[in-house]
Amino acid sequence: MTPAIRVRGLRRTFGSVVAVDNVDLDVIDGEFLTLLGPSGSGKTTVLRMIAGFERPDAGTIELAGVNVTNAPPYARDVNTVFQDYALFPHMTVLENIEYGLRVKKVPKAERRARALEALEGVRLTDLGDRAPSQLSGGQRQRVALARALVNRPKVLLLDEPLGALDLKLREQMQVELKAIQRDVGITFVFVTHDQDEALTMSDRIAVFNEGRIVQLGTPAEIYEFPASEFVAGFVGTSNLLRDETALAVLGSAGTWSIRPEKIRIAAAGTAGEAGERAVAGTVREVIYVGMSTRMVIDLAPGGTLVAVEQNSGRHADQRLAMRGENVTLLWNTEHEYSVN
């Protein structure tokens, strides 16, 4: 099947800075794909080139099999939700939503009906006559979403749309966005630097670093099997054992990642079960984070690992008292993952 978006050899420089370097990407029709990476990693530039706001120096972009590399934004069947929403301040909410239909010469009655429907879809039915300046951040966000979706684009591009919202609203919008995407069945390409957001919402994640895609996969693949030290560190807690330390602890050199929640903390001297590795260590730091407790443990053979335990059993105070205690760390050897 023809992918919704096919990107080949995409490259973009700003002066001497290579923002996007030889990116290949296929976005499957109907999927929720997240471009995840630190700021300056090129993810937003890729999105802007797909939208048509930036021209690539090299490479091609196809939308549903049609080459649009040099087409202007208004000739592409994609719509964008901007980071700052970019609502038109001199128009009402309803006029904002109607805008795309208006410039495409959709008859007035039809566009009004579709705009109202879109407004209802984002649960703002009564706010159509307001000015954008009279809305809260979360409401503006929904108007921006409705303004894009009302055009029924093949692909919706979202540039860090939740970045300006507070945590509660953010989590609520994550769930809502995902539900909307399932309902309308439109391909979503979502840019974020927030790993939690990427893991919760996406069908697939493309991890960006220094202008390149360093890993592409499902959230579980990215998290459980990071392809490189960078991915292991950027997605989830960096829990790495390197070189001599790795040799001493695991018996083989190189760089290894063990996710914190895979590690079990037991009394000193506990023997591991079949397939488990047991390593002695001393608790250096205990950090209480509500639902769970993070422990930083210095291993006896060298190196440091972070372990996370749910606060379901032992009382939090008992945990906090474990600082300085000798313990044994246990984990299944299949969770030792090489990131060379």
Binding site: P72, P73, Y74, F88, P89, H90, Y99, V103, S133
Partner: protein, 268 residues
């Protein structure tokens, strides 16, 4: 910030002195225009509206006023078109020499009027066949353009590019985007720039003396020519007083639109 009582009082006194320095002489002109005293001296000796009716009937004043208005309108029209186009180019496109052009546009307002006047006078008389009404308009447009440019550029910078990108993203071509988004959002800045440009042209005297064709008398020139004729002094005074009153209107309008800008300019 909290200020101590003493500081507040001191600042208040300074503010009153500074304000008085500007507005008391203007007030005196206004009051003197109704005085029976023929020389512009204080205190007024009696009340009369004779000078006002004489000024209204004065042929010289009328034609000078008309000339000034026409010149200012023409210069403002040129300034609006050029200032708007240049500010769009500078704000929305990257091209070679962008920074230098920006500087060159603003420079005329900083140059001493007498230098601009002499320079333009030289070019007009030596190469372009002498001074006319048109040379005066063009000369005025050179500095009127600057205020339009500055106003519109500031608005475009504050607006940012993302609303235009959003418009384009939603299917609007360049012209539609300008018509439905860019222009409505900078309308008030254009109007404010235009009013300032009109005001600048209307009261300009130095460049005018060097670039106006023979027989063309603008209102400031008329005032200057008649200031030292004893008989005309009261009428000059009336014209000055009228100008003070008339100037209040554009400033009021410009300020009103300035405050609307807070809403229109901030991009949501």
């Amino acid at each position: 910030m909290t200020l101590s009582r003493g500081t507040k009082m001191l600042l208040g006194i300074f503010a009153i002195i500074a304000g008085a320095f500007v507005y008391v002489p203007l007030g005196i002109i206004l009051i003197n225009s109704f005085s029976t005293n023929k020389s512009l001296t204080w205190p007024p000796t009696g009340y009369t509206t004779e000078w006002w009716s004489k000024a209204v009937d004065n042929e010289g004043v009328r034609s000078a006023l008309l000339t000034s208005v026409v010149v200012a309108l023409c210069a403002t029209a040129i300034a609006l078109v050029l200032g708007l186009l240049i500010s769009l180019a500078i704000a929305r496109y990257r091209f070679f020499g962008r920074e230098s052009i920006s500087l060159l546009i603003v420079l005329p307002i900083a140059l001493p009027g007498i230098v601009t006047g002499i320079a333009l006078n030289n070019v007009f008389t030596s190469y372009l066949g002498g001074l006319t009404f048109l040379t005066l308009v063009v000369a005025h447009a050179t500095f009127c353009m600057v205020v339009v440019y500055n106003n519109v550029l500031a608005r475009l910078r504050r607006m940012g590019g993302s609303v235009e990108e959003a418009s384009s993203d939603l299917g609007a071509g360049g012209w539609t985007t300008f018509r439905l988004v860019t222009f409505p959002l900078m309308k008030s800045a254009i109007l404010a720039g235009g009013i300032l440009a009109f005001g600048l042209s209307f009261d300009e005297i130095i460049v005018t003396t060097f670039t106006a064709g023979p027989g063309i008398t603008t209102l400031p020139i008329w005032i200057y020519q008649n200031l030292f004729r004893p008989n005309q002094a009261p009428i000059v005074n009336v014209v000055a007083a009228a100008l003070v009153l008339v100037s209040i209107i554009p400033i009021y309008v410009a300020q009103k639109f300035g405050s609307d800008d807070e809403r229109a300019g901030g991009v949501i």
